[in-house]
């Protein structure tokens, strides 16, 4: 008979093989990164622009991003999209507060021709008024739909209170704001933040040197010459606010405080604390609020990084009738970490879990590139992850308690509920 009661022995992860991409200068300060060693014929390229939503008027950045392929004087948006589809390209566009990203996935043999179509479309975009109107109308509709979701309402209110000290970081869009967007302001934004705003280029695929050079030729002229200035030292409105939504069945909760990013000495150890709190299925919050009380389908915490700062946030949606109990339990779990040492077996489990997940996030060239970009953004290199492994292995229950006391004081948090 086999022993089913006891777990088979496990082997820890001694080291992970982190690989760096090839690095080329677009201009001094702006780089192209390329990861090869892809096992099949897939490829992607990605353009990072200094075109985040903190620039321009409310929503200018998002509208410009959405209209990048909306047509030139020679081609309509349909023609451009058809040409890209004929080459099997899949596009992804996104704007965050501090960046805008344009991504293309395709088979390697098709990706350079797509890049040329994209370049021509972006470079010569005319911001056609009909396209603009269509885009504004569908954005308004989408926004109205989203504002019916308690999660979105909570997130918007959280953002306003959390970045309270900064007008640019705290603003949210209302449907009526979209009536005031002008073609002229879009064109100006496009000129400044795209045609002179390329911060980096990312390639994944088995590219030859000459293909890499071609990408450089296609997009190099857009390289930004300016060093962006991002804000730091945000101040939040502390304490609790509730947004009532009639007839809601659930209440969304967002709880957060300002923190730091990878450049801070407490970062790696705090990641361990964050995992214990709410970043895996067996976390304190999941165990208590989902698996013990059944208040929610899911609850989690995260450390979110920005260019010069970062923050810690807890988010969930709970039954409307148990909102107060859920808040009390969240506070209880944070307070417990401040007063009681984490049991060694729980800490060991979290360490093993985190190392396993790090191994997974270093599996394959696409994941490896993401790991790299996440350190490169802060001026660090892949050695950072070896230090993370070291920190994870070394962290003690006492150190976790110390961090909890430093960073988990309920009075420091912005707390928002909507529902």
């Amino acid at each position: 008979m086999i022993d089913r009661k006891n777990a088979p022995s496990i082997q820890g992860i001694a080291s992970i093989n982190f690989e760096k991409p090839l690095v080329f200068d677009i201009t001094k300060g702006n780089h192209l990164f390329c990861m090869t060693n892809v096992q099949n014929e897939t490829a992607k390229f990605e353009l990072y622009f200094d075109a985040g939503s903190i620039y321009g008027g409310t929503e200018t950045a998002s509208v410009v991003n959405a209209l990048l392929l909306s047509g030139t004087k020679d081609k309509t948006s349909i023609q451009i999209n058809t040409e890209i589809d004929e080459l099997g390209g899949f596009l992804e566009q996104g704007v965050s507060m501090e960046n805008a990203v344009f991504t293309v996935y395709a088979l390697r043999e098709n990706i350079l021709p797509i890049a040329r179509i994209v370049r021509d479309a972006i470079e010569n975009c005319v911001f056609d008024t009909r396209e603009l109107e269509q885009s504004i109308n569908s954005r308004k509709q989408k926004l109205r739909v989203n504002m019916e979701k308690v999660s979105v309402l909570a997130q918007r209110s959280f953002r306003q209170r959390f970045f309270n000290s900064s007008e640019k970081y705290s603003r949210v869009t209302n449907p009526e704001d979209l009536d005031f967007i002008t073609q002229e302001e879009l064109m100006q934004f496009h000129q400044q933040h795209y045609l002179k705003g390329l911060k980096k280029m990312v390639l994944v695929g088995n590219f030859s040197q000459s293909e890499i050079d071609s990408f450089m030729d296609v997009f190099g002229a857009w390289a930004s010459e300016e060093t962006p200035t991002f804000e730091t030292g945000f101040e939040n409105i502390k304490g609790y606010a509730h947004l009532e939504k009639k007839d809601a069945l659930q209440t969304a909760i967002r709880i957060g405080r300002h923190l730091f990013n990878k450049t801070h000495e407490d970062y790696s150890d705090f990641l361990v604390l964050n995992t214990i709190i709410g970043d895996y299925f067996g976390s304190r919050l999941m165990r208590n609020i989902r698996e013990d009380k059944g208040y929610t389908y899911g609850i989690g915490s995260m450390v979110s990084e920005m260019e010069h700062s970062g923050y810690f946030m807890i988010g969930t949606e709970v039954g409307k009738e148990v909102k107060d109990q859920a808040l009390a339990e969240i506070k209880y779990e944070l307070d417990k970490l401040k007063t009681k040492l984490v049991p060694q077996d729980e800490l060991d489990l979290v360490k093993n879990y985190m190392l396993g997940q790090l191994l997974k996030s270093a599996d394959g060239p696409y994941s490896m590139m993401d790991l790299f970009l996440s350190v490169e953004q802060h001026g660090l290199n892949m050695d950072f992850y070896n230090q993370v492994i070291h920190s994870i292995n070394a962290v003690t229950p006492e150190r976790i308690k110390e961090l909890a006391n430093k960073y988990l004081n309920w009075d420091d948090f912005t707390i928002v509920t909507a529902g």
Partner: protein
């Protein structure tokens, strides 16, 4: 080409092994041949509730997640109307932890009352979060019974109503486990950098002594052919009118399933698709529109859905939409268009197969369909599709009497 080896244990468990020497991770994927379609109509939502209970401890192991996390792994599961699928991703050196855990919950569950009580609540919150507390969230709860009158696809995976979940008893749980969670009703796939002999030995060790159980014969009621256009209007406090046209389409094993898939791409996959171009860009009747298939194993649905632009009526949309659908039944689509659809399918497949977990899941699914090697034959099936096939299937599917239309009318609060 995805390579794999297949072997079967004496208790009937089918095992697939996919070797990948480039990854430090291992995947253990377990597909159970049971979904919401196997439920009793008075106890819907049960297959999915049961999936939650599979994490509440097994006969010899009090908790599923903890030991797996301790081994550096993570796991999750999903339930559809057709299947229930569980997966674990662990560092390759700890494969055995996953096999120990998965085999023990195939052997038997702990069946603790606390687990049932809590997971009932969790699933009820999931019901609220995803289906009731979202704008348009209950659309599928409405559309399914409109399109299906007999076949169990008429209820959603989450269940017909919350009451069914509230009323689930321990007796139900045990019966369900005994009937469906047996080696002969499961397909296991192990993927990673291993040798076949090693995998065989481990699988035999952990799964070999699980009693095979009885293979049940699935006898679902067949949906009668639809012979009339069906329409339902619901009023909801949402900001925008929305529409869902559902057309019956062939089952998964029918070669025409793939033709219907391509047809849905032609209609509404991309910004170069027919519906997007005509309805959104040229006529500005909709703010968004798309077409897709449900991917069901039995007779499924091809869906055209979207939202109306402000001031546009359902009738205006309906008229223009049918012009597009009728055109597809009169004229063959051009070679350029077909080529464009094919390159997107080929590209998407190449990306999908980039992931180890995707490969393992798909191998299990194709094995369920009859042959794991289907994963390697699919590309050729798509390539062989002609514009003549698309014409034929358009005529077969895109008929008014094969259509169920759900309209969501926005009303003010």
């Amino acid at each position: 080409m995805i390579h794999y080896e297949k072997f079967t244990l004496e208790n009937g468990l089918t095992v697939l092994f996919h070797k990948d020497t480039t990854t430090p991770m291992a995947v253990v994927n377990t597909l159970y041949d049971v979904g919401a379609r196997d439920e009793d109509e008075s106890k819907t939502g049960f297959a999915h509730l049961f999936e939650h209970l599979m994490f509440g401890g097994s006969v010899n192991i009090p908790e599923f997640d903890t030991p797996l996390q301790n081994a550096g792994g993570e796991n999750n599961a999903f339930t559809s109307n057709d299947i229930t699928n569980y997966y674990d991703v662990v560092p390759a050196q700890n494969l055995e932890t996953a096999l120990w855990l998965e085999s023990d919950r195939m052997l038997s569950l702990a069946f603790t009352p606390k687990s049932l009580e809590v997971q009932r609540n969790v699933v009820i919150e999931e019901f609220k979060q995803r289906y009731l507390n979202q704008p348009y969230g209950d659309v599928w709860l409405q559309l399914r019974p409109l399109a299906y009158h007999v076949h169990p696809y008429k209820w959603a995976t989450i269940g017909k109503e919350i009451r069914h979940i509230e009323e689930a008893t321990m007796e139900d749980v045990k019966t369900f486990f005994k009937k469906y969670y047996t080696p002969s009703n499961a397909i296991l796939c192990i993927a990673g950098d291993f040798e076949l002999e090693e995998v065989k030995k481990q699988v035999e060790k952990w799964y070999g002594d699980i009693p095979s159980g009885h293979k049940y014969a699935r006898m679902l009621k067949k949906e009668p052919d639809q012979a009339e256009f069906r329409e339902k209007i619901i009023e909801r406090e949402v900001p925008v009118d929305a529409f869902y046209y559902a057309f019956k389409m062939p089952e998964r094993k029918n070669p025409d399933y793939y033709v219907a898939d391509v047809l849905s791409d032609a209609l509404g996959r991309d910004k170069s698709s027919r519906l997007y171009k005509r309805l959104k860009k040229e006529l500005e009747l909709v703010s968004e529109v798309s077409a897709y298939i449900t991917g069901s194993l039995d007779e499924g649905l091809l869906i055209i859905s979207g939202r109306l632009s402000n001031g546009v009526s359902f009738e205006q949309l309906d008229e223009e939409l049918w012009k597009i659908l009728n055109d597809l039944q009169r004229h063959k689509i051009g070679e350029d268009e077909l080529k464009r659809l094919m390159i997107k399918i080929r590209t998407a497949k190449e990306f999908q197969e980039q992931g180890l977990l995707n490969r393992a899941m798909n191998l299990c699914l194709f094995e369920l369909l009859g042959d794991a090697n289907g994963i390697n034959e699919e590309a050729l099936i798509y390539e062989k599709i002609t514009s003549g096939d698309l014409l034929r299937i358009s005529r077969q599917i895109l008929r008014k009497t094969n259509c169920s239309l759900l309209k969501v009318q926005a009303v003010k609060k």
